[in-house]
Symmetry: D2
């Protein structure tokens, strides 16, 4: 293998730039030529491709977002779209690809692999919802963004009983909500993986109130419902003044944390190593603190599981 | 004067602790005894009052919120309530008060002054909506909280045209929205002091889109309307994907900025100086970079004005 | 077991408060009485001990430092000192202890265990130098403090060739230096676990310079030598303008990261569980993402190992 | 005037990018062509000049450093060097210049003005040491960087009496030290504008110690001497454990604060207005909260004054 490509696809996450940098530098370290494919699979089909050198990835390790941009691309789901992309790879002579993104991105990687272009997937999403890896690139940063916001909410004066509802990202996965709730001592954490026991939420609020607690924090993963709706219901049920924060895309940005940068650097380099070893159709990950790789098809068949011990702990600590 | 009191009242703001600290230390510097009144005017009526020494205000200069807490208090608006408060002042021998808060708080201070208990008001609110001072304690911190959030929104990948609507605090005053918009290069800034020209918002968005701009940011002061409503209307009018962030009470917390701490320290100390000079019924402030003081009654009669030159500049720079 | 105690000892680290909170709440969850011992072993001997309830640990999860304070204590290394401490435990009826700190603290815990007072150690130190756990409480926060500082250094204009030397904590362990270097793309990382190849440092700097690189960052763990000394030697050897940053105790503070708070919450609760199971003389830890516990004596006999794969990766990526 | 140029020169400061953006956008708003001159006066002589459009300054308002880079340039101090620069201006047809930087940069601007190329200076430096403006671009950001570092130092456990010495930037101006000291409640603040009373430093430390104060913070502007030297002397004189932090160039970077961005936006736009009004050889500034402009020659003749009232206040509050 002499020439490889790298692209980012799907929703961006903090640390993607650190992963790109690692892929580029590790490739150059092994005397490979490395090409950046801009705008994900759309750019692959359009031939929006440039060779990258050490300088191209200078001063990006600390930046949120992705210098390669991403794009949604319906066309690449078709055979025709994939062949267009392969034309571009042929034109330049790119023999393998590193695809940084979520499960949608990995489907494309799997298709290219089947058509003779070995791909390695690198899990990048703030949701931490990809099986086969304990952590995804961006999760740690999003989590810290959430807790910094909640810390500020905590500061505001303990003037009269007040409940704060914070809606965080997570359509199908409650990891951000669960970790943030544990890290910030939330009274209740509502996640899609667990049935929502609204009575328990109210119970805990009332218990806190009786104990003289001035403020309570409820964290709601967006997959469970609207923060505003919960705010209204809580206000009706408790008569406490209730305020709502919807962080939205604030959670997708920010300079990546040390952990996300290190994880991204390790996973990106590992992906290059696998390509050099002749592997294909694999997703790299970190499990039990070790670098691993899995068949992408198996990953796509599995479901990410939330840590129920941590959920239980969060309930025990928020008595 | 031998004994003075200090209380915080109304909504809390970052820097109130620095102001308390300054009042206490400046008072002790001048050999006064100084008493902390907890929970605002409610605590005054209840006699929730403790003497403060240098150690009581140790390690609070950097904390959000207020160690004296605040509370709403309807009863203190009545003659009877005020007399209850005065009973407590008499009991301890407190001869003058520093009241840190917004205009509601200053009304109470004015009443006490009229009844023979000289008060000095210190403007503390994130909204920057108090006349007689160019800046209020907490405004700079809230502003930086807002721009840090918007910076993160900016990071997220320039994947496809997307519009971000950020709703910020400001029921009657657009200062947070205006300054944050200028500091973050927002496309449009909607503030209560100016008519909302929705067509202009849409015009600017379309112009940016044509120029190839990937994302646009609209800042809406809560007094103008709901961020969600604007988000929906923009999506309908432009067909662009639109995402909404509601920062809510996140804006009220956080460690105060250097500016807020310095401002709070200066205003708190100045308030003590005025009490010692025998003044009463005054609010301290900073105008044209100088410490000033005004009659509280005059302040209550005026309206804070937004800086229209800055508003014009924000429009010129967001072409 | 009906009554347990908790203390922090040795150098403080961010997340200790989250650990204390978790111990207290988990204990109360299990209907135990829990006592806070102030100022470490010194406070134990002095009987500086107070019962803690849910409110005592309110609003501390996000604070750096430790609300229980710490102190050095030579006397507790003696039999006499230990017996004094045991007198106090007897007086109150405390039957078991959770000791949060580093290896010095664990020696005391071991002694108490031998004398019939079961102790569980919780690893809290920013250095990440304790065997038997992949991460210690505080390491992640210190790391992020370091990279935020280096990120700022990176920002300063690429005006002329300049080398920045950043000295970070780590007398015997290079973990902070290594992780920060990898997370920030440092040119060279000098750690106590590896021989310092000064020629290689100079080589890399010159190679970067030839490639047109404007600035280079060298990270030095304090155990390797003084940042100032290295700065001087580099300036002499390369003729490049060299600037030095010594972060010092800045690395010991700050609000703990999400990771440190979650780790602290899990380890603190696990320690209580072990006491309830009748275990003693154990240190809890996290290894391969699972909660574990080890005999303290074994821990004290081992040495923490640095991750050499990560060190190698850092060198490959900084070509 | 149809074409103007903009350059940054001297040490960079956070907010310079916001100033560049404002110059570019305000110029385009007035239908001017605007050219970016890279690497300061060196780039001017070398013809390192590119036209800038709205897109060129997209997503830079929040970045530290300067996208136009800066460089020292001895040659431009000579008549010959200046003529080389003018050749380049002629070649492109640039009729006026905005020069963002410190006093060294303004000397060059003055020379160009005298030779028929009107220049307007914009004060950008973290030191806040330029007369004719109450604040320089970058000062507020540097200040907040310093206090965030000191806040972390404060967190570390109050284990035994300890003194922290923090050396901050300021060779000739003590503004950073003074404001940071006031904002962080430092025990002593050593600045070049005031004689260093070492006995007073020791006095205050001992007084704090007697009062039971656990930690004390001494801020030293680099112009007064080395933080390490002071640390040693304090340790000798008090026998307290003393730790030193040297922030160095960390203070020059970071995302600019809201204040610095707003100030930069206002000053940059004002400079363009002045060029359009036919003014030359002026420096813009903010005084008493109003936009002003002064003759550059007068500015170069004056000295920045520190605010002695604030210095006095810092001493009164650190009793």
């Amino acid at each position: 293998m002499k020439k490889i490509g790298v692209l980012t696809s799907g929703g961006d996450s903090p640390g993607m730039n650190a992963a790109i940098r690692s892929v580029v530098r590790k490739a150059i370290y092994h005397d490979l030529e490395v090409y950046g494919i801009y705008n994900g699979y759309q750019g692959l089909m359009d031939g929006n491709i440039k060779q990258l050198d050490l300088g191209s990835v200078g001063d990006i390790i600390q930046r949120g977002g992705t210098v390669l941009h991403t794009a949604r691309c319906e066309e690449f789901k078709t055979d025709e779209g994939q062949n267009k992309g392969i034309e571009q790879l042929k034109r330049i002579g790119i023999e393998g690809l590193v695809v940084i993104g979520g499960d949608g991105s990995f489907r494309g990687a799997e298709k290219l692999t089947q058509k003779g272009y070995p791909c390695i997937g690198v899990p990048g999403t703030i949701d931490n919802d990809i099986p086969g890896t304990d952590f995804t690139i961006g999760f740690d940063t999003a989590l810290n963004t959430v807790i910094e916001a909640i810390d500020k909410v905590r500061d505001t004066a303990t003037s009269h009983e007040r409940t704060y509802v914070v809606e965080v990202m997570g359509r199908h996965a409650g990891d951000i909500a669960l970790w943030a709730g544990l890290a910030d001592g939330a009274e209740s954490i509502l996640i899609p993986e667990q049935p929502t026991d609204f009575n328990d939420v109210i119970e805990r609020l009332k218990r806190g109130q009786e104990r003289g607690k001035k403020h309570s924090i409820i964290i709601v993963a967006e997959g469970v419902g609207s923060g505003f709706e919960f705010g209204k219901r809580i206000e009706e049920a408790t008569n406490m003044d209730t305020r709502v924060t919807i962080l939205g895309h604030v959670q997708r940005g920010g300079s990546p944390t040390a952990n996300d940068r290190v994880l991204a650097s390790r996973l990106g380099a590992h992906a290059v190593d696998l390509l050099l070893e002749g592997k294909s159709g694999r997703m790299v990950g970190i499990q039990n603190n070790k670098l691993v790789d899995h068949d992408i098809l198996e990953i796509l068949d599995q479901r990410h599981e939330i840590d129920l011990d941590m959920y239980k702990l969060s309930q025990e600590l928020s008595i």
